[in-house]
């Protein structure tokens, strides 16, 4: 004899129990994207991310602009990480146009790139705090990030969209007394972020919300092709600053942080550890940087070869490996520019991780993927 179900439940078929829920685009826990989730009670059965709300056609527009006017455009996908998102394009354009970069400019680029990585991660952490209902964790990172924004503002003249890197170096030299101010503020910044441990990372409330949710095993992280902090949180030691050093990263002592758990907690902790590493790199770069010299070589508008040429350059951005594929046909405009961005690559893990998860864990899993919708849509 089978157990009798209550009359209401016995009549319901499985399909009727499943409800489709739209999360976003107007929702505090989704940002500028929509996630269509199917839930059975409290559990997510299927998830279908629907990006594209900020798809602006950057790649198409890049085909109509020359190598220098593309610069303000191609940094817009991630404005608070604009140096890093422009970096592979600039490296690729240098190879196509045949431009050498002065030594001092390389160091300035590395400092700017690391400062931007911290600025990006701080904003990401602030939003992670909001998603988890932890107001202090919005206020602290959002305030501390202003210290570094001030440095970038001194360096390039804009708060977030710098347009500072150009093929052949950077656009202007560092202002006077920049090194002292940078060292002072970076040291204070590092002291501040260490305080996050007690209030956030060791906080039992955070741990109970993020431990063992959305576990991505090492094999799956490799199979899904995830990148950046998501990959390193799953136990794969892969960082392009070490594996394929560009500019002057070879001469600097770079370490990466790897965690084995692969859950939301690890994915939220790895970027925080990386920020401390970035502070180390900035200090090293300030020390080794040539004290004077040229920062920009003259731009050549035409590619060095008249025939077709392809370049694929990668850098490690705040969200992981960021590649830029440039096809040139000898004209002053690139024939095709493709940005292979970390957010878009990590998006594939979202339906995979959310399946079987509780609906309440959705924000913590979603934002722990280090995802920035504008970048994924481009």
């Amino acid at each position: 004899m089978t157990a009798e179900l209550p009359p209401g439940l016995a009549l319901q078929k499985v399909d009727e129990r499943i409800m489709t829920l739209n999360v976003g685009p107007q929702h505090p826990g989704s940002g500028h994207m929509r996630i269509v989730v199917q839930i059975d009670g409290d559990y997510i059965v299927a998830c279908d991310p629907d990006p594209g709300y900020v798809h602006r056609g950057e790649e198409k527009m890049a085909e109509y602009r020359n190598y220098i006017t593309n610069i303000p455009h191609l940094e817009r996908p991630v404005i608070h990480d604009s140096c890093n998102v422009l970096y592979p394009y600039v490296l690729g354009a240098e190879e196509i146009l045949g431009i050498e970069v002065p030594e001092r400019a390389k160091y300035v680029r590395v400092i700017a790139s690391e400062l931007n990585r911290c600025i990006y991660t701080q904003y990401w952490l602030a939003i992670y705090g909001i998603f988890l209902g932890h107001s202090t964790m919005f206020m602290w990172p959002a305030g501390d990030r202003e210290l570094l924004i001030d440095l970038m503002e001194k360096m390039s003249g804009a708060r977030v969209t710098h347009a500072h890197f150009v093929p052949g170096g950077v656009r202007n030299d560092l202002p006077a007394n920049f090194e002292d101010a940078c060292l002072r503020q970076v040291n204070y910044f590092e002291k501040r972020i260490k305080e996050y441990a007690a209030v956030f990372y060791d906080n039992p409330i955070l741990i109970s919300r993020t431990k063992d949710t959305g576990v991505l095993s090492k094999q799956d992280a490799i199979r899904l092709g995830t990148t950046g902090s998501v990959l390193r949180a799953s136990g794969v030691d892969y960082d392009l600053r070490i594996k394929e050093p560009y500019d002057v990263y070879e001469e600097l002592d770079v370490h990466t942080n790897v965690m084995k758990e692969g859950d939301s907690y690890a994915r939220s902790k790895v970027p925080w550890l990386d920020m401390m590493e970035s502070c180390n790199i900035i200090r090293q770069a300030l020390q080794k940087m040539p004290k004077s010299g040229s920062v920009r070589t003259k731009l050549k508008p035409n590619p060095k070869t008249k025939g077709p040429e392809t370049v694929y350059k990668r850098v490690e951005s705040g969200r992981g490996s960021l590649g830029c594929y440039i096809v040139s046909d000898g004209k002053t405009e690139p024939y095709r520019v493709k940005m292979s961005v970390g957010s878009f690559r990590n998006l594939i893990a979202l339906p995979y991780l959310l399946k079987g998860e509780k609906l309440g864990n959705m924000p913590s899993v979603y934002w722990s993927l280090n995802y920035w919708p504008v970048e994924a849509d481009r």
């Binding site: 798809h55 490799i222 694929y312 594929y325 878009f344 594939i348």
Partner: protein
């Protein structure tokens, strides 16, 4: 384009010749990779170039599945970083480029293997229903799923065997040409 980038043409200046010699010394590992592919597939693959950290292989669309399987199983490349579609209206072809990297093999960590294939291009595209088709690589590299969806909507290349060839980024009511084709003109250009 592949033949032209393969070897320096005789007209190259002295400077680029000197550069070319430097490059030839460096990529021992890359040479090994390309030889591995040519010894297995022979005529089917053509090595477009061997640069520092970058090897590019051009294959026909019938062979792309076999070559990709060999790259994964025998050469330890395990994920696709990006899938790019490039439109060549003069050749009446659309090139689809897979950039394949490796996480598991430490010696291949700085290598990107570029696998390029070409699909026939139709002047009046009906995405999904015309002859612009390629076999999907999703059963080999799981990570191409969203990238191939993007190529489908941006260039109209249908991937046979892809489980989920739906629209991804463009608006739901998009009824124009696929926007990354060269004959799709943007405002005022």
């Amino acid at each position: 384009m592949s033949e032209e980038t393969e070897k320096p043409t005789p007209e190259t200046t002295e400077k680029s010749v000197a550069k070319q010699e430097e490059v030839i010394e460096l990529p021992a590992l890359e040479k090994g990779l390309s030889e591995k592919l040519t010894s297995k597939f022979g005529e089917k693959t053509s090595i477009a170039f061997v640069k520092e950290n970058r090897v590019r292989v051009d294959v026909k669309k019938e062979d792309v599945h076999d070559v990709a399987e060999f790259i994964r199983d025998e050469m330890n490349f395990d994920h696709v970083e990006s899938v790019t579609g490039v439109d060549f209206p003069d050749d009446k072809e659309i090139e689809v480029v897979y950039h394949i990297g490796s996480y598991t093999d430490n010696s291949l960590a700085n290598q990107v293997l570029t696998l390029a294939t070409r699909a026939p291009r139709e002047d009046i595209p009906i995405p999904g229903k015309d002859g612009t088709r390629l076999p999907t690589l999703r059963d080999i590299f799981y990570s191409v799923e969203f990238h191939e969806r993007e190529v489908f909507e941006m260039l109209g290349v249908y991937f046979d065997g892809h489980p989920d060839n739906r629209r991804l980024l463009l608006p739901e009511d998009w009824a124009d040409l696929p926007p990354l084709r060269k004959d799709f003109a943007i405002k005022g250009r």
